[in-house]
Symmetry: C2
Subunit: 288 residues, 2 copies
């Protein structure tokens, strides 16, 4: 299994990630042109341009995206669906029924897309393994997470299982497993189990401190209230990641542009490095 965070900047240098999360692409070696994008961020077209495997050019308006898997119904994770509207057939989209509901009512992308390629919805059931057709060799499992639904959801501030998920992806050949969760406010026992069983965890790196947005005057909510466990402090992400087995690769994703870890020479970044925690960047590649 190969994971890519496609670059959206045409620089050969390593760049810190943009504030918007990027889709993680699960790529099977035997099927280099059959990929799954995790979430659909607004800059998905730049990602397709920047990542050759996402544009096999077998036909006009072709992409290598076999399916999109949504973790939630947030704007930054779903707006890219509009950019994929010229897909040659219905776009295979995996998400929980609550996410589909939010995307059919409060922010009705499903309805808008009916005027274009349309959506081939595949229901994501919690804690049941599944495969994506045409992408054999990878086994997926959606895990419910405590985070928050978007402001246009009837469940905003009243989280329900399925509003937010994390994803376990197992390569059936190598036996290696990825755990992916861009939004993660609490680590419940079933999540902790999945993290411990993974070979690589890519988890919520939104904010450094719990009051980061409050102290900047950008929000009245703490990081945890917004659905994101901060890295620092008691019961923070660093404390959790420290408890993982030593062989587990630890990567933070979904970094907010206020987070000091984006600065490679910041003391906060050095703290992460000392704890063996990486920060994702545009163009990052991980092989499992």
């Amino acid at each position: 299994m190969e994971l890519q965070l496609p670059a959206v900047q045409c620089s050969s240098q390593r760049k810190p990630p943009s504030p918007c999360p990027h889709p993680v692409v699960y790529c099977s070696h035997s099927q280099p042109n059959r990929l799954v994008a995790g979430n659909a961020s607004p800059d998905v077209l730049q990602q397709i341009k920047a990542f050759p495997a996402l544009q096999p050019a077998r036909a006009l308006r072709d992409t290598g995206i076999a399916a999109v898997l949504l973790m939630d119904a947030q704007i930054d994770h779903t707006t890219g669906l509009l950019m994929l509207r010229e897909h040659r057939q219905k776009l295979p989209l995996y998400c929980h029924t609550l996410v589909r509901e939010d995307l059919s009512t409060g922010n009705p992308l499903f309805k808008v897309l009916e005027h274009y390629c349309g959506i081939d919805w595949q229901e994501l059931h919690l804690q049941k393994t599944f495969q994506v057709p045409s992408l054999s060799g990878l086994e997926f499992e959606a895990l419910p997470l405590i985070s928050n639904a978007p402001p246009y959801s009837p469940h905003r501030d009243k989280p329900q299982p399925g509003d937010n998920i994390g994803l376990s992806v197992k390569d059936q050949t190598s036996g290696k497993t990825l755990f992916y969760a861009p939004g993660l406010a609490q680590i419940e026992p079933h999540v902790w189990k999945a993290m411990q069983e993974a070979d690589c965890v890519m988890v919520d790196g939104t904010l450094w401190t719990d009051d980061e947005m409050i102290s900047l005057g950008a929000s009245k909510k703490t990081s945890r209230a917004m659905g994101h466990m901060p890295q620092s402090g008691a019961e923070g992400m660093i404390e959790w990641l420290d408890k993982l087995p030593a062989h587990v690769r630890k990567v933070l994703i979904h970094i907010n542009n206020t987070n000091p870890i984006l600065d490679e020479i910041s003391p906060q970044r050095q703290t992460l490095t000392a704890h063996g925690i990486e920060v994702a960047f545009d163009g990052m590649e991980i092989e499992l």
Copy 2:
């Protein structure tokens, strides 16, 4: 008046424009941080990053965007509004009432944004000059155009005045005028008058031939049926632009990625050059 097509690629080389249209920014010299973005394309955040005047950084989450003016309700011209949702106050947005209707029903961005910054809607009346507060010295006028409403509009294929507009922008100090129309299927007498009176026209450069998308198997519609006058052929854009006074600067925008003029050494591009017609590119600057 200064016009910018902010670069979305971090290259110092001239690049052809992306298939997505970019906002044109009208910038008054005396007010360098008070700008108006024409349309809000999905990559508006990259544009803000790439163009210093769009990020004056007077405060957190500040932008230099004084207002957004929408030409129509198309996805590629409006999705960027979602990316501006963290604006510190309601986002000043000028559009026709029919566009507002499409963006409140078929693709209800107005409703989605109510959960974030909200929209301070300013109605665009056709063929009446107006000014944008906090941006003195520029006079705007919206002109109805024959093009097409988006697929989610009740007026799709039944154009009504206001579904699509062109914009005249006059610098009251220099007296110079821009005419801007990213979607233009027919040049009616009032549009032709505005084009003749302009010092620079930035007009629809979507497709080279009327059957371009049909011959590629990408659509069953001609260019004109999609609301875009092709460049070549009888009554095409080149013929029209040839009739303009010699001093008028002629720039094509909104270029589709199938259009051969994107290739700088193509015969089609050479034809344009021979006719004194420019092709817009990321990072282009025009001073009037």
